[in-house]
Amino acid sequence: MREPTTVSRPSLGGGWGVGRTLASAPKSTGSARATDGAGAAAREPRGAVVTDLERKRAAAPAPSEWTYAPAPESREIVSIAERYGLYVGGEFVEPRSGEHYATLDPSQEEPLAEIAQAGTEDVARAVDAARGAFDDGWSQVSPAERAKYLFRIARILQERSREFAVLESLNGGKPIRESRDVDLPLSAAHFFYYAGWADKLEYAFPNRRPRPIGVAGQIIPWNFPLLMLAWKIAPALAAGNTVVLKPAETTPLTALLFCDVVRQAELPAGVVNIVTGDGRTGADLVKHPGVDKIAFTGSTEVGKAIQRELAGTGKRLTLELGGKAANIIFDDAALDQAVEGIVNGIYFNQGHVCCAGSRLLVQESIYEPVVAKLKRRLSTLRVGDPLDKNTDVGAINSRQQLEKIQELVAAGEEEGAEIYQPPCRLPEKGYWFVPTVFTNVAQSYRIAQEEIFGPVLSVLTFRTPDEAVEKANNTPYGLSAGVWTEKGSRILWMAQRLRAGVVWANTYNRFDPASPFGGYKESGFGREGGRHGLEPYLEFER
């Protein structure tokens, strides 16, 4: 590794932004001020402390449009090297391929660092290192000690969470509020959870004599770079395997920073190896005969290619692939909560979520109020600087992804759906897409069939629960679904019939290390999370 350099962007000035979570309704402060600005300042809870700015506001006429001052998180805490090698056998090494590529800040379209493009030989070296570490000690480390390494990693992630969160938002474009409040706490929790399993495997699988598989090859996507790393590495190590992990091409930085956590935790060399690169690197990892198990999270298309590639090899495989989830709203649902759930379901992480609720199924009788509330709520979403703590929707991860979203949205308009996008000023540089709702969508439209993986919602309607189930299941995918109704028996009735691995009832996009996650049908097989998440990384005598 070369000398680290800190890249900083110009400060946009101190802010007084109103912290707001995507999952909660807009605070009355914001909307009340927008309508009657004069009286609103007086109703501030911190009544005694009135700043000059607020005094000015109180005297000014009601603004026609409410704007927040910027509240950017400082990126000082992060230091990014100019160039990164591959993490193999406990150290960074130059790629033998000699190739590098630039990783970008998608909100600025500016390069952050040079990343190694691992070639076939580099992947082989990493697999050898993992095999060496497995044969040479890791599989003999006592389970209780293995647990302690994982506990250490969890603790270090907690300690360094701010640094990781900023880096995640810089490299991936997701709002800092999400990387800070979702990605990081969950990543640490995942290591903590599986740490506890490491020395309890025979209780998880009584009478089955579980033992590790060997070397796991793991390929992860760019939407939750560190969290997906945690989902892969934590159970693999807890079960006693060693790993070679390939981060996504566009978002390698937090995985590379994780190597420093591995070093701090004093994990034996070669237990965790990180090889960066594009799809070619992933293909090399899949093909390498020394890998005993492949775990892949990504698109259904690539998942199928991997399954084909592994045909006849006897290698173990788990796939967590795409989705086109239905979020189903019945007429007796608590509408305001449901609308928050819809918004969280599809606009969380710019819609770059495999389980995103991208098809909204609304019962006909409440179609109009739901769509009206949804449009109103959409206009309060703040799109912009991922590092700004007020931002709800950040940058699209890459130009390629932006083009895919644009193509599908154009197809939606062409096929006859009605598009709604709230008025929204987008930054001049970077990759952005305005949160979008399509109404008047037929089931056959591409926007109702294909995974868009962007902030685009398609609204369809239904009359009866049977029709809702039929429409929801009318997809080759089966990752997740949402149901909103106040009727308990109907929730369970729906949950039984929805062909999806995760059903969120009166909530959406909840994740927890104790909760198994994974798909039905073409959304893949195998589970991550919970006791079930250990199985893909174990062999059993019976």
Binding site: K304, R308, L310, A495, V503, A505, P516, F517
Partner: protein, 264 residues
């Protein structure tokens, strides 16, 4: 006066009925002319299985257990006939006991394989196993116990099956189909095809409405079948022909996790 015995025509078992192959073809096995299922018969069998699956899965686990147990009762009654068509009485008894063993699992699988998940928030979160749907089985040898060892764990979880019988020894499978038809198994839950593996297996492996394929009985290299199975991300199962385990049933189950907030 000697009586002329009535001979049996060996037919397919699809959707609860015994059709000949739509192609009209037969092939010779074990000294008999046996129906040689066509590609279309295979597709028809998948349709029958798909149609039967929701009801079979919706049956209470208790009832499904009763039905599986009933199969064992009916097999016991045909003990002698079955023994003539396989390696003998011991194999028949293995097969019967297999059904009895799995019958008892129907209302216990969810307790062993499911979980309630203590998430860090005010939610009730639980995971339950559910059938994957339609399963294609290439039955391994021996002709009766091999087939039953793979079939019973598929059925107990609520799946429907399309079974390709042993090509060389298909008669036991046909006899078993007659047992199934006279027990309480709803039509279409099990479909039995006799014919040429090379013809039928690729159709089932590539079929977009088959959720899982059990290759335990695939001869030799099955890479081509596995490649075809990737077309709709099928679950590929390679189990053993001689073991019984709830985890064999688990291979044909999906796990569904449900979240609900806890509040007043």
């Amino acid at each position: 006066m000697s009586r002329l015995p009535v001979r049996k025509t060996y037919k397919l078992f699809v959707g609860g009925a015994f059709p000949r192959s739509e192609s009209g073809r037969t092939y010779e096995a074990e000294g008999q002319n046996v129906a040689r299922a066509s590609r279309k018969d295979a597709r028809d069998a998948v349709r029958a299985a798909r149609a039967a699956q929701p009801k079979w899965a919706a049956m209470t686990a208790y009832n499904r257990g009763q039905v599986l147990y009933r199969i064992a009762e009916m097999m016991e009654a045909r003990h002698a006939e079955l023994a003539d068509l396989c390696t003998g009485a011991a194999e028949v008894e293995t097969a019967i006991d297999r059904f009895v063993w799995y019958a008892g699992w129907s209302d216990k699988l969810a307790q062993v394989l499911g979980s309630s998940n203590p998430v860090a928030g005010p939610y009730f979160d639980f995971t339950v196993p559910e059938p994957t749907g339609v399963v294609a089985i290439l039955a391994p040898e021996p002709p009766l116990a091999g087939l039953v060892t793979r079939l019973a764990p598929v059925l107990v979880g609520g799946n429907c099956a399309v079974v390709v019988a042993s090509e060389a020894h298909p008669l036991a499978a046909v006899e078993l189909a007659e047992v199934l038809a006279t027990s309480d198994v709803p039509g279409g839950v099990v479909n039995v095809l006799t014919g040429l593996r090379a013809e039928l297996a690729p159709v089932l492996a590539a079929h977009m409405d088959v959720n899982a394929i059990d290759l335990s009985g695939a001869d030799g290299d099955s890479a081509e079948l596995e490649r075809a199975a990737a077309g709709n991300v099928k679950r590929i199962v390679r189990g053993r022909a001689d073991v019984q385990s709830p985890y064999e049933a688990a291979s044909f189950l999906e796990l569904k996790t449900v979240w609900h907030p806890i509040g007043t």
